[in-house]
Amino acid sequence: MIDLSCNIAGISFKNPIVMASGTFGFGREYSGFYDINKLGGFVGKGLTLQPKEGNNGTRMAETAAGMMNSIGLENPGIHAFLTQESAYWQSLDTVRIVNLGGGTLEDYRAGAELIQEHEQRIRKDTGRSSIDMIELNISCPNVKEGGMAFGIQTDAARHVVRAVRNKTSLPLIVKLSPGAENLAEMAIMCEHEGADALSLINTISAMKIDIRKRKSVFEHGYAGLSGPAIKPIALRMVHQVAHAVTLPIIGMGGITTADDVIEFIMAGADAVQVGTANFINLRTGPDLIEGVTAWMEQEGVQSLDEIRGIIS
């Protein structure tokens, strides 16, 4: 019997396929196309304490085997999210992860607190959970207010991780930025500060110029690169971090095929996230689960544990 399941920080996933933040709405958006309960889990769009309008101008552009985005964390704010989506999230039978962003340390802290209180209350009142984990996004490159700085320097990040850790009893995933000055050091810091898992990579800061208009395509100059183009870089970083810490790791960056998933698992990931590939083919989630299962059957692999981190 082939077993796709995995366990991260005490939460059990049916399979290692998790949809990435910002590419899967709050889950509903894809539920008309397939049963999203088949997924290992999904991460909701990044949330901030206050609602955010996001960036103006062009928000998306394609590059060679990649795409750039500058959404700017448009979101309804944590409060509205909790009010509007809790019941729906409660109804789901897959791992539900909130992605927490912020501009200032105080935002992060207050955001984490709000989520904590809500989840405690809802669990008490209904006996059922609505949120399984928090993914802390210290790395969104699109927010001017300083969201980026946290993701770059270990010492700046430490404050955010500590603040959020203190405010939540939910399993805490810290999502790392590929722009971190020292990725291994950043990962070790997260481990020290009590993170339960790490996820990486977020988009890579990149630029595109409209040579006709003689202007940057994006309002803020730079935007985040994702998709197949970045896969070899992401895989290297996952491998690096897997060798730096003992925390469970959720790897991502350009995954589009089952072979890509296997590569990340072999590099040391416990599970993977899939972002841009949802746009290439909106049924990527179930397709990957099927593909990984087929690969395991063919290779006689019963459990992904047999190959996890096999690359020294």
Binding site: F33, G54, R59, E62, M67, N69, F279
Partner: protein, 230 residues
Amino acid sequence: MAKVISNMHLNEKVGLLEVECDRGGKPGQFYMLRAWDTYPLLPRPISIFDCTDHSIRFLYLVVGEGTRRLYQLRAGDNLMLEGPFGNGFPELSGKIALIGGGIGIAPFYYAAKQYENADVYLGFSDQPYLVEEFKQVSSSVTVDVGGTILDTISFSDYDHVIACGPEGMLKAVQAKQAAEQTDANVYVSLENKMACGVGACLACSTKHKTGRKKTCTDGPVFRAEEVSFV
């Protein structure tokens, strides 16, 4: 996967693609098309030009790599098709004007077929195409070449006006609505860059007077006065 039935080249830049598909849709809705493996990365949103129980037609203009690949399709080729997406045009009665600028005429053939009393206005920058076809679905087809089709219309003659075309034209529609102080309901169909097409990525989110809207799921059809063009 859907199969190409035919792909007619109307001129060096415009094609009319017919594919096997039984998913249909409403006028003003669109599909995400993908007729390539890996490049470009994303599918392309294209409006329904016309549809039957077993086929859909798309009218497209070659502007870049994606539409160039659509142009190269031959009968029997396969392509990926997801949809229909978007709100589509509202159900309307009364006198209707359908105003298409350039490739913006695409959604109005199917619309003219469905509305009982719709006048069609087609603005072309040079050689017009499909005019005879449009005449078969509307008793009033006005064609302008190289000018501004809007100048030939008075919104106040209509209960409803729907416009689709380049952003400049849609801005002019908004301005004209304000200038005419008309009672007509004026709608525009927007074309924002899209990634997911299903409301998940917020790439297509644009400012409206009532807040941000997603063109792919809240639109692409909006009341003209609500859009905030920049």
